[in-house]
């Protein structure tokens, strides 16, 4: 029983970060129809940058966000503006392949710079433990969950109550009408993509402390994010966060209760079941 509770709680904690990352991807999809298959590799990139900053300047991952957040957001904007946007009007599948090429570049760039051996970035909060009843939680896990929910909340408020948020929702709901309002659709798409990558930078810092990273992890993050976003109904805010929690729990439960191989299967199995019987995923309305 303790094991179950422990696994559930850990799953919920990491699930919140999955949800956050998927929100970024969902916004991009809603606004430009682009599915970024390099999303997970950007997470990986962020984590390696944290590693590098730690090795060079002994910066704690949370502190290095001051550098990584603006830099990665800018990189995201440049990538969208100059690589993706020129192609996005054409067959969207081409954009997917482009992002796959990008994934190769990032993954192997990281491999060339850092080598293929697993590495980890330590953090001062690593050793901190929170004990709630029978459940033992590590510092980074709790911090990750708190910040993920907080950032998701901030994102929600931005979308609801600011002009840029409304512009994003407008482009998603009817791009032509948005253009008639004088909204620069291309600019909104670029900003949204950059925001998605900025979110990724935050997630990378949250996931880094104590986690072991390898260049090949990128694809795994991408697939997890894809599962969450489709489960959540692609653009439904609440659905995506919920999807994140579900996948997080499925992962955690799977590795605890099932054998190694079956454990990694569980998120897929749950995904397939939910998608089959609720093809619109977990969305209630739309975002």
């Amino acid at each position: 029983m303790d094991e179950l509770l422990q696994a559930l709680v850990e799953g919920l904690l990491i699930g919140s970060t999955y949800g956050l990352v998927a929100l970024g991807m969902g916004l991009v999809y809603g606004v430009s129809g682009v599915v970024n298959f390099a999303h997970g590799d950007f997470i990986l990139l962020g984590m390696y940058v944290c590693l590098a900053l730690y090795s060079a300047f002994a910066l704690d991952p949370y502190v290095s966000l001051i550098v990584t957040l603006p830099v990665m957001t800018l990189v995201g904007a440049l990538v969208y503006r100059f690589l993706i946007r020129p192609i996005a009007d054409q067959h969207l599948l081409m954009v997917v392949q482009l992002t796959l090429g990008l994934a190769l570049v990032i993954q192997n760039g990281v491999l060339m710079l850092f080598g293929g051996q697993p590495q980890r970035t330590p953090s001062i909060v690593e050793a901190k433990l929170f004990v709630v009843g029978d459940v033992v939680l590590r510092g980074p896990q709790v911090i990750a969950a708190v910040i993920s929910f907080a950032l998701a909340g901030v994102l929600f408020v931005i979308l609801r109550s600011t002009d840029i948020g409304r512009s994003i929702r407008a482009v998603h709901q009817n791009a032509r009408a948005a253009a008639l309002m004088g909204i620069d659709v291309g600019q909104v798409q670029t900003i949204t993509f950059a925001m998605g990558i900025g979110i990724v930078a935050v997630a990378a810092a949250l996931l880094s402390p104590g986690a072991s990273i390898q260049p090949s992890d990128g694809l795994r993050y991408t697939v997890t994010t894809l599962l969450v976003i489709v489960l959540g109904g692609m653009t439904d805010f609440a659905g995506i966060m919920l999807g994140g929690l579900i996948i997080g729990c499925a992962e955690a439960l799977g590795t605890v209760y099932l054998s190694e191989t079956l454990g990694t299967l569980l998120p897929y199995a749950i995904f397939v079941l939910i998608m089959l019987f609720r093809p619109r995923g977990l969305s209630w309305g739309t975002g």
Partner: protein
């Protein structure tokens, strides 16, 4: 205020407008008539900046705006109320109106414009927090026009405002259009409904297969036998 010289425009290299010239003076209501596929919506889209002309000129207050982006045209007050309303379905009336006034020129006056618009359309005030997708067709048309006014329109272009509306609503909408005209707004009215347009517009142009075939005062256009043939293809 607005002049178009020999505009050739279309989609994918195929011209729909084949050399259109027209004038709209400040404070006029000008009607643009024509059968389906004559090019009416293409013309409006060209004015909005959504269709890039292949050749020709568009002048606003004497200045060449042909190369101006859609965003910049909105800032200059060229506002389109599109065919089919195109309200943002998942957003409330309030949010739709806020978006209407999002451009840099209109933004500072958004709050006051909102009041003006809600006074003009009391129904919208009633439905203020309701999702736009759940409004009736007539209410959506009101919202679309209100949204256009929020943008600080100097030239308001209405594409088929009567489409899909009950006769009572059509009556109501056109009364509003007349009121706006009375307040000094310049209006370009694109309509398939011949009778309605000829009643409210001062001058009219008739578009047929990408050419202006008739132009003149509404009465003259009404009595011109070519009008009917342009419409019915006789």
């Amino acid at each position: 205020m607005l002049e178009i010289h020999d505009l050739i425009a279309g989609y994918g290299g195929v011209p729909v407008l084949r050399g259109v010239s027209l004038r709209i003076a400040k404070g006029e209501i000008v009607g643009l008539l024509g059968a389906n596929n004559a090019g009416k919506t293409t013309l409006i889209n060209a004015l909005s900046g959504l269709v890039v002309p292949m050749s020709g000129q568009i002048l606003l207050d004497g200045k060449d705006v042909t190369a101006l982006s859609a965003k910049a045209r909105v800032r200059r007050g060229i506002i389109q109320v599109p065919e089919g309303r195109l309200v943002f379905p998942e957003m409330s009336v309030r949010e739709n109106l806020l978006l209407g006034g999002i451009n840099a020129t209109a933004r500072p006056r958004r709050a006051t414009e909102m009041e003006y618009v809600l006074n003009l359309f009391p129904r919208l005030r009633e439905r203020f927090s309701q999702r736009a997708g759940t409004l009736s067709g007539g209410e959506q048309q009101m919202l679309a026009i209100a949204r256009g006014l929020m943008a600080g329109a100097k030239l308001l272009m209405l594409d088929e405002p009567s489409l899909g509306l009950s006769p009572r609503f059509v009556q109501y909408i056109f009364e509003i259009i007349e009121r706006l005209h009375g307040a000094g707004l310049t209006i370009l009215l694109v309509e398939q409904n011949l009778q309605l347009t000829l009643r409210y517009a001062g001058r009219c142009y008739v578009l047929e297969r990408g050419h202006i075939v008739i132009e003149g005062a509404a009465d003259a256009v009404r009595s011109d036998p070519r009008t009917r043939s342009a419409y019915l293809g006789l």
